[in-house]
Subunit: 217 residues, 2 copies
């Protein structure tokens, strides 16, 4: 019987989040790499699996395909509740989700590779302009997030163990390093990222640890 399969791309921040959750919850899975830069997500066979032509996609043992990283994370939380990635209290849960969504909705979609491709194609954006675009949205989102994070932050954003906000944050920090964002104004975010990287299950989800990782350019 086939096991759980994760279609992912090493550098995709949405893939980092899902890999980290799978690892933390001890879910066994095989990785199949989708090379976003080579356009593998547009392959008709893959587009049948994921009509949005993105990663990650999680294929369950019975063949059911789940798409959209935040929906997959919600599924993992319901299906594999231990350890929890969201608090039980509805208000605390909403605060963690809001922090996660500042990354997952305000930053990531606008910084998606397909947006960069349209900027290049229709507006002639060059490499420097692409970098400015990426850093602009990270800077805006991180500024809002830094203000939303508790002043008396425990080890992680909202608790002593990593939650959904932490996983989104550490994934986005990989992208921040890639594009050279100045992280000086974001001490809380830097602290969360460092705490996450010290957790073996999260470290193993980071881009450099993936089978499809390429040497950094």
């Amino acid at each position: 019987m086939a096991g759980i399969v994760l279609y992912s791309y090493w550098r995709s921040t949405t893939s980092v989040r899902v890999r980290a959750a799978l690892n933390l919850k001890g879910v066994d899975y095989d990785t199949r790499a989708i090379d976003l830069v080579a356009g593998a997500q547009k392959d008709p066979d893959y587009a049948k699996i994921n009509p949005g032509q993105g990663v990650p996609s999680l294929v369950l043992e019975d063949g059911t395909v789940l798409t959209q990283s935040m929906a997959i994370l919600d599924y993992l939380e319901v299906a594999y509740p231990t350890p929890p990635l969201l608090p039980k209290d509805p208000v605390q849960r909403a605060l963690v989700l809001a922090a996660a969504h500042t990354i997952a909705l305000d930053i990531h979609p606008v910084n998606n590779l397909r947006v960069l491709a349209v900027l290049k194609e229709r507006y002639g954006a060059d490499a420097a302009q692409s970098r400015t675009w990426m850093n602009h949205w990270m800077q805006e989102g991180f500024t809002a997030l830094e203000a939303m994070l508790p002043e008396d932050m425990p080890s992680f954003a909202f608790g002593a163990a990593p939650d959904l906000a932490d996983l989104c944050i550490t994934g986005q920090c990989c992208n921040a390093r890639r594009w050279g964002l100045d992280m000086t104004p974001f001490p809380k975010i830097r602290r969360i990222d460092a705490a996450c990287r010290a957790v073996p299950e999260i470290h193993a989800a980071h881009p450099e640890q993936q089978p499809d990782a390429q040497p950094q350019i």
Copy 2:
């Protein structure tokens, strides 16, 4: 004692979602309008409430502020479970969320007014180019969504009663009408929008019904 307050903007599709959920769940709330076009979201008093400087924000009776529409919707689902906006089965729940996220993550953030403002400011996008940008992402997202929706769709996307995906879809359809998207290729989405507009609680959440609605230009 102060009641629940929703900071919203009549035309904001994220506000439509949250208003519809509040109405369906029978939650009493007062609306305070934040005029996004006039820049009211950048007012320092409002930015203290919502550091992301967006709408909606939901202020609970004890003064707790919830931000990010999808986090607010999650809170409403946990705190006011009737009627449910998400199925109990984890896989069905993930499929509804994935459809909702195709709107909430793949379309809306890239079509946010603040992205249009940067396109205009840095790339000199004119009115026609803004329209092309808006329609491009709606076209892409709706194409993926149309393929994800069940062939044997009941009255709504996944069931006989409206769920979270339906609320995101009908909100986005308001924006599709505003920007003149050709909806011919999306019969399932059109059917869902029509079914939603026939529900009084959702109709009341649509832009034209809001106290801050402006005459359509």
